[in-house]
Symmetry: C2
Subunit: 186 residues, 2 copies
């Protein structure tokens, strides 16, 4: 663990996460740091990450700060060593929960706030736009409420729900019911 040469497997995984970073809304370095920590059994310190990824020390520092702001990374300490060591949670479901929660916070919540703010202005004479905005707000509220529910489930129940497969549809009452989100025209 001293010289931090990556195995070909780590190398490949890390590079992939780096490339995907931009699609995931993080930058390459942040993706690579996360990937490296994800595959490391032992916590790593900033120096090891810097060396492993051949990036600058300050870049590592910024990347770690970013990952901490996402709460995707844990800080650890070792006896008699004042450097910071980092890991990712062992439990993948916990990672997913964090990821979803953070994306919601950054990608959804600000828009929900904005939509509510727009509605507070009351009718402005553009009935279509106003209806469209209200409809979007309702949809987002429904989805976030559902997310809250799923989040409340213990992991075990969640896995149970997700692995139900075809049985899912069967659980639901098939009585015809009006769908508030379907429009009359197209």
């Amino acid at each position: 663990m001293a010289d931090m040469k990556l195995t070909p497997l780590q190398q490949d995984f890390v590079l992939h996460f780096g490339e995907m970073g931009s699609r995931w809304g993080i930058n390459r370095t942040v993706g690579q740091i996360y990937a490296l920590l994800f595959l490391s059994e032992q916590p790593l310190n900033a120096e090891q990450i810097t060396e492993g990824l051949s990036i600058s020390r300050s870049n590592t520092s910024m990347g770690l700060k970013e990952l901490q702001s996402w709460e995707l990374v844990r800080l650890r300490h070792k006896q008699g060593d004042r450097r910071d060591y980092f890991t990712t949670p062992d439990d993948l479901w916990e990672i997913v929960r964090t990821l979803v929660a953070q994306r919601r916070k950054r990608e959804i919540d600000p828009t929900l706030t904005k939509l509510r703010e727009l509605e507070l202005r009351g009718p402005q004479g553009d009935a279509y736009a106003e209806a469209r905005i209200a409809e979007l707000r309702e949809l987002i509220e429904m989805m976030t409420a559902f997310h809250d529910e799923m989040n409340r489930l213990e992991t075990e129940r969640l896995v149970q729900l997700m692995t139900m497969g075809r049985k899912l549809g069967g659980l639901l009452d098939k009585t015809p019911k009006l769908n508030p989100f379907r429009r009359k025209t197209q």
Copy 2:
């Protein structure tokens, strides 16, 4: 509809979508074009969008191309007018389905492919990393299978499921069952 002055409501909504664009993995212009189309009862042509958003004609063209590649926008034609007109679907659920499908295609599927590729190499002597990769692949497979299931449901059933609230947990069998994704240690 001729001179495309935006109302304050449209203006504000469009600017918000522009700002959020970067968080959503699209650029400002693309976000703005989508927002404008979303609030427009009538389909708009490229010229109207260009004018409404005060951007260049070529930027509009590129933005529309991008939105078409996401399948988030529909092409329409008017009698005796050979310009292309664009709209967003009336049905918000359809928009959400498209969005989720596209994000999965761009953000998840390539990684799933990569993970499988890494596993095909067989044991390389880094048991921890190999286990971690396998675990991640299994998790992603479970989630995509679940997505496929949800996607199969008609909108009405989906809404029914999402609005179940607390009853969700109650539906599930509470018999203790081993969770294949929880690790022994932390």
